[in-house]
């Protein structure tokens, strides 16, 4: 496992007898893009807020770069660029003035950074427009610009695609991947749309009713969601030999010595049947199986049409 940049240990937050967070223990590895997935109200934003010091958890603790304690956490948070819930700026100030305000507040001496960051998110031409006149998509872009202003080591983005048009979503995806690959920025991104995260995430955390119910890597998720042919035959060892020698594939798995999960020839099952038939292997059943990402999500967290 890579170095952990953020770790939460049994975070619990209670609002008026309702647990918004229930023993959430999340681990964010350096260099990863961690997708925090869950329905609305599942506790995603509350988790991110706790990490950023916006709410005080009732119990549990947070580590940033392995450090705990208020002073060390404050130091750690200085390296985090974040948007929580929605980008917040002064509405009567222009985009440029808003970023200039945060440039001064963050102690960045290079004045050009404001212009450069606006250009990076495609707002260079509207920098002098007031924030209150911005569309939701432009506000999100400005939020991203604010995050990037400090040249962060970690990005925390809460539902960043809300309000973005398809091109905006694609641009954001590319930008996140670019920052992750080229600048080694670790990203923690929340969404209730798993499909969106599946394009970029390397790790996932699934939340439901304030609990982190599962953490999984993208590779594991792919594995779990992968389509396959489920084949029951009378002679497993002979069948696997045929797969390797006749069909030249090693991409299969034997389950309980009863059935074979074949991850190739998904749409060419007749070919498999023919090979087995010619060799005298009796096929008891052959079905195409595997779950789509949405189905996997629905099974896990349940009940959200947006999934």
């Amino acid at each position: 496992m890579n170095e952990l940049v953020i770790k939460t240990n049994n975070l619990t937050k209670v609002y008026k007898n309702q647990k918004a967070l229930d023993n959430v223990s999340l681990s964010l590895e350096k260099g990863s893009i961690y997708g925090l997935v869950g329905e609305n109200g599942s506790g995603k934003s509350t988790t991110l807020k706790a990490i950023l010091g916006l709410i005080n958890p009732n119990s549990g603790n947070i580590e940033i770069y392995g450090e705990t304690g208020e002073t060390k956490l404050s130091e750690g948070r200085k390296t985090i660029g974040c948007i929580i819930e929605s980008p917040a700026f002064f509405p009567y100030m222009s985009a440029k003035k808003n970023l200039e305000y945060y440039r001064v507040q963050r102690g960045l001496t290079d004045k050009k950074v404001v212009e450069e960051t606006l250009n990076l998110v495609g707002l260079g031409s509207v920098g002098n427009k007031k924030f209150k006149t911005f569309s939701l998509g432009m506000k999100q872009r400005l939020g991203i610009a604010y995050c990037l202003l400090i040249n962060p080591e970690i990005l925390i983005l809460d539902e960043p695609i809300n309000g973005l048009d398809p091109k905006g979503i694609m641009d954001l995806r590319k930008l996140i991947l670019k920052l992750n690959k080229e600048k080694d920025i670790t990203v923690l991104i929340s969404s209730h749309i798993l499909d969106e995260l599946s394009h970029i995430a390397t790790n996932y955390g699934f939340m439901k009713h304030g609990k982190l119910i599962k953490e999984i890597t993208a590779a594991q998720l792919d594995e779990e969601c992968r389509k396959f042919l489920r084949i029951k035959v009378d002679d497993i060892s002979k069948a696997t030999l045929l797969l390797e020698e006749e069909l030249k594939t090693l991409d299969y798995k034997v389950n309980n010595q009863e059935e074979i999960y074949l991850y190739e020839f998904i749409n060419e099952s007749d070919k498999v049947i023919e090979v087995f038939y010619k060799s005298g292997i009796k096929i008891k059943s052959i079905n195409q199986e595997g779950v789509r990402l949405e189905e996997y999500y629905m099974d896990l967290v349940g009940g959200n049409k947006n999934a």
Partner: protein, 246 residues
């Protein structure tokens, strides 16, 4: 913290809202002198100086606007999230807010008073046979006591802003504390005959302001009560803000 104060001063100092507010009050102050010089017969600047303490209570209301601009707006716009998550400690955020409000309040107060006295000098002139030092000495002593009381108001107003989300409600409660509570204390003293209410009233900001203006309270007490309020309510603001979820 220094950088946050600078950013906040940059944001607020040349803001039309703040400039307009200062301009309107300054205009009102100059207008008083114009009216006095035109219709008040043979009047000199000493008249304006004597009139000034009657307006010592005015910053109580201006402070609501300044604290709203500096602190409440951050809550209303959600930008406080950006500051808290940037790693600046909550104590420093509150202290910075109080410092910025104090600086803006003092700038507004001195611009208004300075223009008022300057215009009085120009329009009315100094009275014969009175030295300038003598003219302004009494006022200076009053201001030494009054300015800390204004700063105390900033502390109180910031506290209620930190405590209550709605700016109208927090401003109203601040007004009740500063202006209405002393009146209730006097009333309670009269009705119950218990001196404790009268004693408490002596430590309230508004009666002290009025006392300094009328010359019944000395400026040292103004310093004590003003800075005491600033310290206590500043501390309470920090405690409340530290516990507050954003």
């Amino acid at each position: 913290m220094r950088r946050y104060i600078r950013a906040e001063l940059d944001r607020n100092l040349l803001r039309p809202y703040f400039l307009l507010m200062t301009l309107i009050v300054t205009g009102f102050a100059v207008a008083l002198n114009v009216v006095g010089s035109k219709f008040g017969g043979e009047m000199y600047v000493d008249y304006s100086i004597q009139m000034l303490p009657a307006f010592f209570g005015l910053p109580i209301f201006l402070i609501i606007m300044i604290v709203d601009m500096v602190s409440m707006e951050e809550f209303k716009n959600g930008t406080i999230k950006n500051i808290v998550s940037s790693g600046l400690s909550r104590e420093k955020i509150v202290i910075s807010k109080i410092i910025v409000s104090c600086i803006l309040g003092l700038i507004a107060a001195f611009v208004v008073m300075g223009t008022y006295l300057l215009s009085a000098n120009i329009l009315m002139g100094t009275p014969p046979n009175i030295e300038a030092g003598v003219l302004y000495r009494g006022l200076m002593y009053m201001l030494i006591g009054v300015v800390p009381l204004w700063l105390g108001c900033v502390g109180v107003c910031t506290f209620f802003t930190t405590l209550i989300d709605k700016s109208f409600v927090s401003g109203f409660i601040y007004y009740i504390y500063i202006v209405i509570v002393p009146k209730i204390l006097i009333l309670a003293n009269v009705i119950t005959g218990k001196n404790i209410f009268g004693e408490v009233n002596k430590y309230m900001i508004n009666p002290t302001l009025e006392g300094i203006g009328s010359g019944t309270v000395d400026f040292q007490k103004g310093i004590l009560i003003g800075l005491g309020h600033l310290l206590i309510f500043g501390l309470l603001s920090v405690l409340v803000f530290k516990k507050r979820d954003i």
